[in-house]
Subunit: 161 residues, 2 copies
């Protein structure tokens, strides 16, 4: 089961559950695949999950340094690469930033709703969207493989005023 219902990022919720669930899932998935969720990788994953706002590699680095870690960019990028490879986080191309995956372990390619105001991101995985794209691509004989879908707009809470 997923650790985050679609769109939950925009609803009021106890985010500690998100974090806890994400770590638990990560642990399980790494166990199944012989991936080693080391302390650093785990810490980076926690920082990515700190909230539903995508976070940049250098922001993570700053956090780690604030905690006494004395490291350099490659350390962070390696951790991020590991987490990406195991499907525990996604990269948001239009932000050069990273966000926790809401459906870890399941094979998928996320679709992201990004609030222009509060920066929070919700991950969707709507098969209709995927189908529409694949159909459209197929008409041109294009064989779709991976999709980057990042939608900017206003989340429910930021539409108010």
């Amino acid at each position: 089961m997923s650790n985050s219902t679609s769109g939950q990022a925009f609803a009021k919720h106890d985010h500690r559950h998100c974090i806890k669930a994400a770590l638990k899932q990560a642990s399980r998935i790494c166990g199944e695949r012989n991936g080693r969720l080391t302390a650093q990788r785990k810490r980076v994953l926690e920082l990515v999950w700190k909230n539903h706002k995508p976070v940049g590699a250098y922001a993570i680095l700053e956090q780690l340094r604030a905690e006494g870690f004395n490291g350099a960019p490659p350390t962070v990028y390696r951790a991020l690469d590991f987490l990406l490879e195991h499907g525990l986080i996604h990269r948001i191309e239009s932000l050069n930033a990273y966000t926790g995956c809401a459906h870890p372990g399941e094979q998928h390619t996320g679709q992201f709703l990004i609030c222009s105001q509060c920066q929070r991101v919700a991950e969707l995985d709507d098969p209709k969207v995927k189908t529409a794209i694949c159909n459209s691509a197929a008409l041109l004989g294009f064989e779709a493989d991976h999709q980057v879908i990042e939608i900017r707009g206003l989340c429910p809470q930021c539409q108010d005023h």
Copy 2:
């Protein structure tokens, strides 16, 4: 009328027509809006349209320098910003690169098919895709504004072998 039928990028065609049409449209659109298509901006647009492969800002800079221009990054980025603002080019987020717009002047947000092998890009504007996304977003109360859609895969010609 658009200067490039959807998906033409992947078909055999006389690309000189693409370039010529793009420049003509650009000239018209800038005229209508009191945008000044200066020599530099025009040259950058030509370089972006050199083929259907997105091109990076620094690659453009190199080209310009090879032509005797002795400039710096801001010049290129300013030209790109101008062209983006007037809807004459698009930015491909997942490549940090720029590509000519196939429907300049028309209000739209492109959807891009990017061949992983030959790097060529075709621009779509499928209303079904847009609708599917907007519907999906609306279910969460999210008001979609701008969409980044970049599909990786293999173009018809690169699927052969």
